[in-house]
């Protein structure tokens, strides 16, 4: 099932929380929803789940408008802050959620057992949710979202409060599930989207400011190739001059003259790797380092969302 969001708008008073955004998520795609706090991520997700109404525009899930049809059977949703009944044992809670999502009686037990296993809740399954650590509560939240094996998963900050090991596990889990499901997950942890998502959507002040894979976003932001090189040669001046003569190199910067480190910026749409290597070979210099300098996602994010 795919999700099509079409000119979606939502205002709170005079403030537009979501301002005329449109995008699609295909089946089997994991979309990372990125943005500063208050950018409209949660609002958009709440509209997809039908929890809050839209002002204008439309959301279609598998071709059905959520305005017309209740699509919650097909959606697994982990709300922000992961609200749970703390006085309920894990197993009872999962059974409650499964029956609300109309999991048939004969599949109920199997489905609950599966979720307990997948989310690593076996040891804790008879404890009350209130007695669990935050990491385990988060797993219960994920388990309840997926209990009816939904085709669509909407996860609002799924890894908050987890320790690094748990984060890796949960990411792995989402990746696996994402192969056959349509997933939207929001986060403001940038390495997370890179690690988990096929596509990134950055939104700021209710508008989409970037849309693409991590690589395409980098390319867009970066423009020219930047290489950091270190060359063992008799003098830095010589290297500096030679680098400057190369046709693909637009700019050379001396970073450290004792260690002979340089930063080169290639001219647009060209790479300099070949030419630098050949130059060293011809001159008998030793190329000890050549590192493509990547614009970090953090920088892209900051650039797009700083106001």
């Amino acid at each position: 099932m795919d999700i099509v969001i079409d000119h979606l708008t939502k205002s709170y008073g005079f403030q537009k929380a979501v301002d005329d955004i449109s995008f699609q998520v295909k089946t089997g795609e994991i979309l990372g929803f990125l943005g500063p706090n208050g950018a409209g991520k949660t609002t958009t997700m709440k509209m997809v789940t039908g929890y809050i109404s839209m002002d204008s525009g439309d959301i279609k899930i598998g071709g059905n408008s959520v305005r017309v049809k209740d699509m919650n059977r097909y959606i697994g949703y982990l709300p922000e802050n992961n609200p749970l009944y703390h006085d309920m044992p894990v197993i009872d809670y999962l059974e409650f959620c499964a029956s609300l999502q109309q999991v048939p009686e004969e599949r109920m037990e199997e489905q609950i057992r599966r979720m307990v296993r997948v989310c690593g809740l076996d040891v804790e399954k008879h404890k009350k949710i209130g007695e669990l650590s935050k990491g385990f509560r988060q797993r219960v939240g994920l388990a309840q979202a997926m209990i009816h094996d939904p085709q669509i998963l909407i996860l609002d900050e799924p890894t908050t409060g987890l320790d690094p090991n748990q984060i890796v596990e949960i990411r792995e889990l989402i990746r696996q599930l994402g192969k056959e499901k349509t997933v939207i997950l929001s986060t403001h942890i940038l390495p997370e989207v890179e690690a988990t998502c096929d596509r990134i959507l950055i939104i700021n002040r209710g508008k989409i400011v970037a849309d693409g894979t991590a690589d395409t976003l980098r390319k867009q932001a970066q423009g020219q190739q930047v290489l950091r090189v270190r060359i063992e040669a008799p003098s830095y001046q010589e290297v500096y001059d030679e680098l400057g003569k190369l046709s693909t190199v637009g700019m050379v910067d001396l970073l450290d003259k004792d260690q002979l480190r340089f930063e080169t910026q290639s001219v647009a749409d060209q790479t300099s790797n070949n030419q630098i290597f050949n130059m060293c070979v011809n001159r008998g210099w030793i190329l000890t380092e050549m590192i493509p300098f990547e614009t970090k996602l953090e920088d892209i994010f900051r650039e797009l969302t700083m106001n």
Binding site: I52, R73, P83, Y85, E105
Partner: protein, 239 residues
Amino acid sequence: MMSAVWIIAKRELHSFFDSLVAYIMLIAFLGFTGFFTWLFGGDIFFRKEASLQVFFGVSFWTLFIFVPAITMRQLAEEKKTGTIEMLLTKSITDRQLILGKWLACFLLVGIALLFTMPYYISVARLGDIDHGATLSGYLALLLMSAVYISIGIFASSLSNNQIVSFLVALLIGIFFHFLFDVIASGTSGFISELMTTLSLSSHFESISRGVLDSKDLIYFISITIFGILMSEFVISKRN
């Protein structure tokens, strides 16, 4: 497949019994009604007739206080902890949620009344009890509870503070319980008639005395439905 209303009601009943609310409510209700029915003042033995009228009179007030105490957390707590979002993004409508909550409270009151069956049996063995009037007395208590539960759930939908919900429910309840009556006796003509019609106590009295009039039944049922619809309206305005 279980209906969503029943799934909600079942969880809520479990939660009543897990959190001691149910036991406190049952013990307090039985203690109160038992004390005033059997032991204190103008109790059942001074009546010189085998009837449970004293018990119905005491319950009329006890339930008035107790019902808001069990309804106050129904939606307020869900709103406060955010679990209402988790619930309403499942395959369940706002109405099913409200009806489930209502049903759970109603069943709890029903259980409490069931525990007073020994009163009925005792009195029946002591004398010649009017079975019809007694049963319709119980019916009156159930109908009254239905109305107050509905009002209580509406009050609970307004706030995410349980105490506020409790007080609002009592405030609305007071009008139905006796203020409309007071106003009716202080006015005349149309207003007086309207107030008498709105007053719960007059409808309660006629049923609890054993007079089953469709007008009274319609009154209780329509106010219950109105309260449920109002709660649904409030919950649907969640953005």
